[in-house]
Symmetry: C2
Subunit: 331 residues, 2 copies
Amino acid sequence: MKKLINAPADVLAESLRGVQAAHPELRIDFDERVVLRAEPTRQGKVALVSGGGSGHEPMHGGFVGTGMLDAAAAGEVFTSPTPDQVLAATKAVDAGAGVLHIVKNYTGDVLNFEMAAELAAAEGIRVEAVVVADDVAVEDSTWTAGRRGTGTTVVLEKIVGAAAEEGADLDAVLALAEKVSGNGRSMGVALTSCTVPAAGKPTFDLPDDQMEVGVGIHGEPGRHRVPLASAHEIAAMLVEPILKDFGDASGPAIVLLSGLGGTPLIELYLMYGEVEALLSAAGVEVARSLVGDYITSLDMAGCSLTVVKADDELLRLWDAPVVTPGLRWGA
Amino acid sequence: MKKLINAPADVLAESLRGVQAAHPELRIDFDERVVLRAEPTRQGKVALVSGGGSGHEPMHGGFVGTGMLDAAAAGEVFTSPTPDQVLAATKAVDAGAGVLHIVKNYTGDVLNFEMAAELAAAEGIRVEAVVVADDVAVEDSTWTAGRRGTGTTVVLEKIVGAAAEEGADLDAVLALAEKVSGNGRSMGVALTSCTVPAAGKPTFDLPDDQMEVGVGIHGEPGRHRVPLASAHEIAAMLVEPILKDFGDASGPAIVLLSGLGGTPLIELYLMYGEVEALLSAAGVEVARSLVGDYITSLDMAGCSLTVVKADDELLRLWDAPVVTPGLRWGA
């Protein structure tokens, strides 16, 4: 295992230390492993809390800041945050207008966020939740009942974060979150496995001449293992299941092509060119795009494609100012 | 070789196609392989042109935009752009106030930018050049007389780009570029080799239990090959040669910790925590920082550290608005 780490057990805590050193605009609760904005939530603003296993950086801690999340609970690598962590995050950012939990659809995450919501409710905090389940690769998996939650989460956190910043109330924020969640589809491909520090060896074996189509962000098996293909062919393997699932995919969309951690930008842009051509040919109007590492799987080589159908409301909120370590524009 | 590519010979052209699809605010001259702003240079503004071999994305094409570069000439992977490419870039962006060439110190780059400058001068364009040679690892190398040019280039392009945007004339822009260049030091470490698409196999062999300290951004040998060490130990191997070279490193600085392409953010932030602690202990006041992939070596695992001593002028220009694919804030 070749990684820039010290003891495997210390990876999360030490990485958070680096985030704090690099980002004085954030505040880290090191006991609870929660990333917060340095400034407390503005009174009356709906607060957004997300979180999940670590290893997907910049998601979620890197999306805390003005115009996006208020807090993110960081579980151990590929491990759900505990209810206590989520509760601590929720209590820290509630400013009287309630809290939206943004949860990716993995069994542990869903259970632990639900438990935290109940505990928060018992303390008088109103909590609603949106569960993102956008991965069209598989209907159920080892870690999930129903579809897995992936890249749509990033787009949702940006758009809903803008609405909360503008003063939308919790009902409106929840409705918007459900809309974005329903509009998003994702599909990923792995060229290599990833290596969890505590395990010290690759999560799965993938021969030199094969790739995993429909891989999950923790290295869960996908739809099929196939011979290594060209970027052009891979683009079709990502785009077609998404288009098929949409039925009618025509019209404006926000498109995210995320690296999985071990694939450099020169390849991601090449891949984006292939993907964009296929989407355009199918009548998808790519209104906004993001290419880079936004939702990763440690050091896995590969990429995931997310398409979120958008209308004027979603595009306006997408364009609103955002100041986070992972996404920043307009301010 | 596991990469998201089609034919190895088409990687650069197809990656540029993706950049164009993702960034309508840029214009790509596909014949000359030059990345330009979509809008022509404002009359009377000094234009900044950089470039170099591809494989270091987002550098340089990802730093074209308001507040940073006007154009970047993209050579083939790890290959200097030709004089014709640099000349085309120079002519395309000159707006009557002259052009600054920002060159990393590699023999081919220096020669080809010089030749382009002479050709441009013959056409009546005033060109000045700054050559960045900030890598403290080695004094000479296979590809370089003198020190290699690395991460300080990113900081220089940002700061000098802000000055040019504000209307500084070519003499002032050149003086500022020399100042930033003189203030910067870098050092890198590779945990793995990289694989050039056209070669199809790793550039060098690096056993599973070793790393290359002082590696160059094309996989050039560094100071020494040593057993794989902890992040804490690696941080010292990067920080100490930089501090030693500065002599007195105390005072404010801009610090860039760049991944080399194959190392994910969770490791980079952990590494940054280690580096920042050592720098602070040595009296360096980290006034601004960047952690992420800014100057890469294809899919190499590892990182490079850049420290640029800064004063109020440099920090003010660093904070000025920038809108590029690779760096964006304040606008």
